[in-house]
């Protein structure tokens, strides 16, 4: 994969336009994180570039080719996507579920080759799941389960992985564990990662490139230092904040936040009540 470009993208659910006139290029070999308020179109954007949803106008180009010109399997060999909190079918073991990642590489009846088994084994090792490989996924903790999904995406052997809020429902330690794992995948295996995160500080800490969305439009994009600013937080989230540089990573973090329009919001509520 050499380039991944999004041109004049417009996406809609029925009459409701979610994304308008969006132009972007995803940096290859980097970790890109998308941030923005609820309902800004982050998930829709990820689904559209992951070929789950179709665009109304414009297109997504993988190496100058419209992704909808590729077959489902061809596309899945180049890009893996994990939706937000997927549900594991009952009774499947981690190994069985991870082996589903091999589908796009298999022909016909889907018999597992020696190579398939080797890669499934590798994916389980990288995600530290080897010892749990025969445990049923529905009996696992949230953090373990999220690692299984990531292992499944790894088994797909793609150069790019998209993740929609991979840290949802996890406690702080598990959140860090998942993000560290993704960082390793990027640094060691050169995997391009694009994810949606809610936590601004985690996004800043683990991303090389940040994209801030609001109402389906890119407000600002760039390195964390370029994106995490008082102005951005004001415009995108309507909050007042103080930004400092974290000592170890030299990345910006947001230390205190206040709602800007609290007074206005209160007045509105009072009106409704009155």
């Amino acid at each position: 994969m050499k380039e991944f470009k999004i041109k004049d993208l417009e996406v809609a659910y029925g009459d409701q336009t979610i994304i308008k006139q969006l132009n972007l290029e995803i940096p290859i070999g980097k970790i890109t994180t998308i941030i923005g308020p609820n309902g800004c179109g982050k998930s829709t954007f990820l689904k559209t570039i992951g070929r789950i949803m179709k665009a109304k106008h414009g297109a997504v180009y993988l190496d100058a080719k419209d992704i909808h010109e590729l077959s489902s399997k061809e596309f899945a060999r180049q890009l893996a996507i994990l939706p937000q909190s997927p549900i594991a079918p009952e009774g499947l073991t981690a190994q069985e579920l991870v082996s589903y990642g091999r589908y796009a590489h298999q022909k016909g009846f889907g018999k597992e080759s020696a190579k398939d088994q080797e890669i499934v084994k590798w994916a389980l090792e990288v995600t530290n799941l080897s010892e749990l490989s025969h445990r049923s996924v529905d009996n696992m903790s949230g953090g373990q389960r999220q690692r299984v999904w990531i292992a499944m995406a790894l088994a797909q052997e793609t150069e790019m992985i998209l993740l929609d809020e991979p840290t949802t429902y996890l406690d702080v330690a598990y959140q860090l564990e998942v993000l560290e794992l993704l960082e390793d995948l990027n640094r060691i295996y050169g995997c391009t990662i694009v994810m949606v995160l809610h936590d601004i500080n985690l996004a800043s800490r683990y991303a090389d490139y940040l994209i801030a969305l609001k109402q389906g439009k890119v407000i600002v994009e760039g390195t964390p230092r370029e994106v995490i600013t008082k102005e951005m937080l004001k415009e995108v989230y309507q909050i007042e904040s103080d930004i400092v540089l974290e000592e170890q990573s030299k990345k910006p973090i947001c230390v205190s936040y206040r709602l800007m329009n609290k007074k206005k919001l209160l007045e509105k509520e009072l009106k409704v009540v009155g």
């Binding site: 659910y13 596309f75 939706p83």
Partner: protein, 344 residues
């Protein structure tokens, strides 16, 4: 859900199930208005029977048994696929109105023409399939949410509504009929192997076999669809295309079965449930297991139904419901118990 039995034993379990079906096959030949002793069955099947024995075995019992088996396979596989692609354990061709759509065509066809030629019999599954296809196309269109694709919950709810609608239409038609035709419909609605002969076997056979072959080649896709549409799409499954194909085949299997058995669709719910509890969710083993389970259920229900009050016949659908209802009650009790344990 209980932990499914380990993979290695799956194959032997499948053989055991098959053996059970074969035993049932012989019992079913043996039992009836005139008993045929076990030791004579092989001789008769081998071609050494008297005219009378041949008549009973080859003209009455054997076609009925084969049809029971085919119908069981058809409903059970159809239910299994529908439950898989809607990811709803309650989905089955009866609940979703597909059988009703096939049924109304069959009922009209049967009531309009008294006796049917071979050509007519061969055409019957085609008509019923068209009826079912029309119903499912309607269901598909009204259950598709713009921009989201097929919504599973809508599919079920709309299916129930369509089924209720068609059933009342059937009642309206029946009110215009005379008594014998009314009797036929009552039996049809209860679900019974009401008509069995070699012509019907011939008419049903290609549908079931084609459906089986198609599904066994799609077992991997069925597995992957169980993780949800979005993830399955990400893994490389052409979700919409595969779902359409699978829905089409599920409809065909069910519609063909309906032509000879009426609404015996309870098997479409019970068969896959039993099979899933025993062998788990992987379709490569689940599908053959489902097929045999369905065959056993219908054959057992029909054999009991036609012997217990012989010479009268209790429709197999009623027997299946009598046998199946306690199982579901047991499931519910079991479920609430395990939930309580988890809470502790």
């Amino acid at each position: 859900m209980n932990t499914p039995i380990k993979k290695k034993s799956h194959f032997s379990l499948l053989l055991l199930w098959l053996f059970l079906l074969i035993v049932l096959f012989f019992i079913s030949i043996n039992a009836g208005y005139t008993d045929i002793p076990m030791k004579d069955i092989l001789r008769i099947l081998g071609g050494g029977g008297s005219t009378n024995e041949n008549l009973v075995v080859f003209e009455f019992r054997l076609p009925r048994i084969i049809i029971s088996i085919l119908v069981g396979i058809g409903f059970s596989l159809s239910g299994c696929v529908l439950q898989g692609i809607t990811r709803n354990p309650l989905a089955d061709p009866g609940l979703m109105g597909i059988n009703a759509g096939a049924g109304i065509v069959v009922v009209i066809f049967m009531t309009l023409s008294g006796t049917i030629s071979l050509l007519g019999v061969m055409a019957l599954p085609i008509f019923s399939f068209l009826g079912a296809l029309l119903t499912s196309a309607l269901l598909y269109i009204i259950s598709t949410k713009k921009g989201y694709g097929l919504a599973p919950t809508r599919l079920i709810l709309n299916g129930v509504a369509i089924q209720a609608g068609i059933n009342s239409m059937m009642t309206i038609i029946v009110l215009q009929l005379d008594d014998t035709q009314y009797d036929f419909l009552a039996i049809w609605q209860a679900g019974s192997i009401y008509n069995s002969n070699w012509k019907l076997v011939l008419a049903l056979f290609p549908w079931i076999v084609f459906g089986m072959i198609y599904l066994f080649f799609k077992s991997r896709e069925l597995d992957l669809l169980m993780v949800g549409d979005e993830l399955a799409s990400g893994l490389g499954v052409a979700v919409t295309k595969e779902k359409k194909g699978l829905l089409f085949v599920a409809v065909a299997l069910s519609a063909a079965s309906v032509t000879v058995s009426g609404s015996l669709h309870f098997v479409g719910l019970l068969g896959p449930h039993l099979a899933r509890r025993i062998v788990g969710a992987r379709h490569q083993i689940l599908l053959p297991f489902c097929a045999i389970t369905g065959a056993i259920l219908v054959l057992a229900a029909d054999t009991i139904g036609r012997t217990i009050v012989a010479p009268s016949v209790i429709p197999a659908g009623i027997i299946a419901a009598i046998l199946g209802a306690p199982y579901f009650i047991y499931l519910m009790i079991g479920n609430s118990r395990t939930k309580k344990e988890v809470r502790k």
